[in-house]
Chain length 196, copies 2
DNA sequence: TTCTTAACTTAATCTACATTAATTTTTTCG
DNA sequence: CGAAAAAATTAATGTAGATTAAGTTAAGAA
């Protein structure tokens, strides 16, 4: 595994914390590269989430399936983002979410003991993780407010604005499942908007 | 200001990190007690969020007002919880949210320079904050999935289940504004449920 | 390439929830 | 306490979005 595999990941780390040679050594040995085939599961509801994943290539989705069999998407994770069922990972209890790959992907994975060890060995990694979670937390706050205050049309427009590339990259039905509407109604919305 | 004022706060800290005498000294001097009257604002949309608040007594709400003048509540913060517009606080840019007190309240506040100093002086405080944010992040994930997958009735039942005491503590219209429905429809829902 | 399956579209009908507006109940506070 | 304001209820009507079902297009797989 060439060092260059870690380029994106190390660049992401260095956005938030400073890295010397020794840190790089520690990080690259703590994270393991994993290739994921399209549609392959990284986690299924009920299983314990053994790893947190940094996406190096491709696209993952984190979602639930309701009692009627419908899918609801919590998040998409493209390159340079993280994925994982945080609660399950931290408590090592059964996961609420499924995670699978929407494209052929590549991730760096780290398990729970390793991450706790990393916090101890390299305290600034704790800072890195706080910042990462903080940013996700802020993103989620905005999504919550949007969900309770805006129409599906507005939510879609804001999604389009925020993630313009994703729309052409993944099946539309997944965007509907993220917005909280049916694919049928999403189709109606899109037609209505292209007329404008 | 008696040391006992800090009981709840120190107890909260010690749930997640160990504290010695010196830490306690540092924390109690970094956080300032503030009394908040009912309906008093701690933050208004457009202002910079100067402080993060730990609620020692009372209840705060964090919310937005949409272009039609309707309020939408992101969160309630009762005793032992935090409040603040994280994004505004971190970037010192105009806030998205309003924060006000639903009851006569008491908070411990800390400003941005002090919190960064605290991270440096007491690295485990960074750990504490990571854990606090992590927990909020997990709570938010569940709320997002609920919002996009459940009916208002289900969301209310789950709210009732999770925060049974809040329901009797604050005006119903605020619960409606949290669930993402109108007070009128909320009233219909409650009536329907009490018949069952 | 063709076969099969999955994704998307369209339209008719249905329902959860919003809107408007009037009435009643509860809270606030001078 | 009593007056005024805020909160909650009720009912009629309207609409965003769900459901059902059929048809079309696009994508994988042999």
């Amino acid at each position: 595994m060439a060092d260059s595999d870690y380029d994106l990941f190390l660049k992401n780390l260095s956005k938030h914390i400073s890295l010397d040679e020794k840190d790089i050594e520690i990080f690259t040995s703590a994270f393991k590269l994993k290739k994921v085939k399209k549609s392959e599961f990284l986690l299924q509801t009920g299983d314990v989430c053994r790893y947190e994943y940094f996406v190096n290539k491709g696209c993952l989705r984190t979602y639930t399936i309701d009692p009627n069999g419908f899918e609801h998407i919590l998040m998409f994770s493209v390159e340079d983002w993280w994925a994982g069922d945080m609660y399950s990972f931290l408590t090592q209890t059964p996961a609420l979410f499924n995670i699978d790959a929407l494209e052929e992907s590549e991730v760096f994975q780290i398990d729970y003991p390793s991450i706790e060890l990393l916090y101890k060995k390299v305290p600034k990694f704790e800072r890195y993780f706080r910042i990462i979670i903080q940013n996700s937390f802020i993103t989620q706050q905005r999504r919550i407010i949007q969900n309770i205050s805006s129409s599906a049309e507005d939510r879609f427009l804001q999604f389009k604005n925020k993630y313009p590339d994703l729309i052409e990259r993944i099946p539309q039905k997944h965007i509907a499942a993220y917005l909280g509407i049916t694919p049928e109604f999403f189709s109606v919305l899109r037609k209505k908007l292209e007329k404008k």
